[in-house]
Subunit: 218 residues, 2 copies
């Protein structure tokens, strides 16, 4: 029995949720897109293996990986029995250029326009998306996909991209205001039309919200 790691890295680019994929150079599934990943070495921890494979295949390093789920259906790999321990992470758009710098075949692909994936990577990705959507409800995970300073349309765009639906602007801003987790800055972003105010996420306030029993109910 062999053990592999597979890594789901999400980001948001141009308003859409994207995942980092690599094109396989060898059989099985040669030429198909797959999640970055590979076999765990005999003397290597699972998370260490995931970080190594991610760096080798995509050039992305220094990410906080969360273990997602282990997939072990006997038929999932045509080479024989392979258990896959999957990990996931979010990276903010200002870091997405790092990916692909060393591995020309690593690409950010839109979740809405995915090619068929190798192995059961489609199912792993679906599971990761479900986890991300759940986390959006009771954590501040959405802010990890934003740069340090962002506008309210940027923030709404993150929620809309992850949930894959349009949200009512007034309703969204009212709920966000209630949470009191944004610090307005005296800086503005020049856009095509009028300048948009920049905000910063106020860390530390979230735990207090949780004590009061407040979720992010979008």
């Amino acid at each position: 029995m062999r053990v592999a790691v597979d890594i789901v890295i999400f980001t948001i680019q141009s308003g859409s949720l994207r995942v980092l994929l690599v094109r396989r150079k060898i059989a099985p599934f040669e030429g198909k897109f797959a999640l970055p990943g590979g076999f765990v070495h005999e003397d290597e921890g699972l998370e260490d293996a995931a970080l190594r494979e991610l760096e080798e295949e995509t050039g992305v390093g220094d990410v906080y990986l969360e273990q997602l789920y282990s997939f072990g259906t006997p038929s999932r790999d045509p080479r024989g029995r392979v258990i896959s321990v999957s990990y996931f992470a979010l990276i903010s758009p200002d870091r997405t250029l790092q990916a692909g710098s060393d591995a020309a075949e690593a690409q950010w692909q839109e979740m809405q326009k995915l090619p068929p994936l190798a192995f059961d990577h489609g199912a792993i990705l679906e599971y990761a998306l479900e986890r991300l959507r759940n986390k959006l409800e009771y954590t501040t995970v959405g802010f990890q996909l934003l740069p340090e300073k962002f506008t309210l349309p940027d923030l709404q765009g993150v929620y809309e991209a992850i949930l894959d639906k349009k949200l009512d602007k007034r309703n969204f801003r009212r709920k966000i205001a209630q949470l009191k987790i944004l610090k307005p800055l005296k800086e503005f972003q020049q856009t095509g039309r009028r300048p948009a105010q920049l905000f910063r996420f106020v860390a530390g306030k979230f735990e207090k919200l949780k004590d009061k029993g407040i979720l992010f109910p979008f």
Copy 2:
């Protein structure tokens, strides 16, 4: 590399949170208590392996297992590299007698008085307890540890056992009443003092609560 499954089964007996352990009959850690579990067969799914080992070692069948986490520190098993995929489940006290009927060495042990465990099973158990406490906050997991009909002191006892702290009775009842998830029955339980009213959990209401952004903030 070998792959094993280990299973954490919690219940509540006599007001305390307990876990199902088995005494090892062979080396390594012969004579020590361990979580039920064992190696995954070559042609067997991970969850199937967990259900099989649980039944073989403890006599407990027909449980809903949730995958917890995969543990893979290279040194975790003295026999060589073994990855453990862990599962957990809760069973209500009216089903706990089932355990141990076929395997005399399976025992419910109090979480507050645990013996030293084999391998890294102490760490796996700690992780399971943390998951259980988190789930108590945003799911109705606590009700899985109750019989179908229960009293308010029974319910408070479940929360207290899992959180390992006393809760204020008036405060607890006020919060539970707000959630509107209990149906009062016209039945009473005879206790030493005055009879205690029985309640039933009203399924289906929880999803609506979640939409309103209400947690179980105890």
